[in-house]
Assembly symmetry: C2
Homo-oligomer: 189 residues x 2
């Protein structure tokens, strides 16, 4: 790339950063905040404790885990609704076949005398977590997010917030779970 | 049950406990320890951090998550092999359909104009974690478990160790993963 163009891009990026940092928290947010709700990527979420696991079928075809910060986990274990400050994270990974695992499953199933057609079905339905797809968050703040059940929503891909269109879909999907404080996921023992 | 038989059973169980408590660690173990390796249910494993997620197809039909104690997580992040004291837990849950989730997925997919046959496929392949099936552990102790790659293995169902037959199958399945310190699961970001 031409050096002057590169410098120009750096300058534009820096300017965008300045403008964004002056935007209201509940608006477009700054460069690191997700649109609409202004949620930033929470620090250390990868170290949070596990709430439960799930998967979504084709064409989404993922394996997903829900993690919670300390307030969320405490609330799950002691009783909802969630207090302000509770955050639930949904990490998702492309579901991929592991030839290495399937070789071992096949050998174990054969030793147990499982019929070949059942082994084929077992292996075809077995997946491990591949590359991460995106990470979603629900952040409880009953005042700031009063109009959306007390929750702010965010989705990040490769550490960057996704666009406004994605974020406009969050609350309408969660609204049917009103009786459970808008959270679908139950805690797994 | 006849009261005398019941008392006899209690006495036998108590006696078995006394005998077992004098058994060597690498033997039948006591009532709380899994056979062969003598691994007990580690305290607080449900609070450990997440390594990765996976699922196994029918007829097992589960959703599973791997958690690691601090030594295991540190080793995954900084480089294997695992040090003595590292423990990896595999929690598994029956994969069940959530009518509640599927209703929301269907509505969202319909809004996006996804064809009905694709929606049917999406919902048929979407599961959440149902009842726990069992919990497995790999405990690293390079001296105690020298003959099985430095790992002791254990499986618990409803908090109780499973039988010897199950534990005889652990190492033979993990042996092919020798180049990865006998661990199949990779760390997910």
């Amino acid at each position: 790339m031409n050096r002057r163009i590169a410098l120009l891009l750096v300058a534009v990026a820096a300017l965008a950063g300045v403008v964004a940092s002056k935007a209201p928290a509940f608006g477009q947010g700054d460069a690191d905040a997700a649109p609409i709700y202004g949620v930033k990527l929470p620090c250390g979420y990868r170290d949070w404790r596990m709430i439960s696991v799930a998967n979504v079928g084709e064409p989404v075809n993922d394996l997903r885990v829900k993690l919670g910060n300390d307030l969320a986990i405490k609330s799950y274990r002691e009783g909802q609704p969630f207090p302000d400050g509770a955050i639930i994270a949904r990490l998702a990974y492309r579901a991929v076949t592991s030839e290495e695992n399937n070789k071992v499953f096949r050998a174990a199933a054969e030793r147990q005398g499982v019929p070949p057609e059942q082994i084929t079905k077992l292996l075809a339905g077995s997946f491990i977590a591949g590359p991460a797809t995106n990470v979603q968050f629900m952040v409880k703040d009953s005042k700031k997010y009063a109009s959306t059940g007390g929750w702010g929503f965010a989705q990040f891909t490769n550490g960057k917030p996704d666009g406004e269109a994605v974020h406009q879909t969050c609350f309408s999907c969660h609204a049917p779970a009103k009786d459970l404080d808008f959270v679908f996921t139950r805690y797994s023992p």
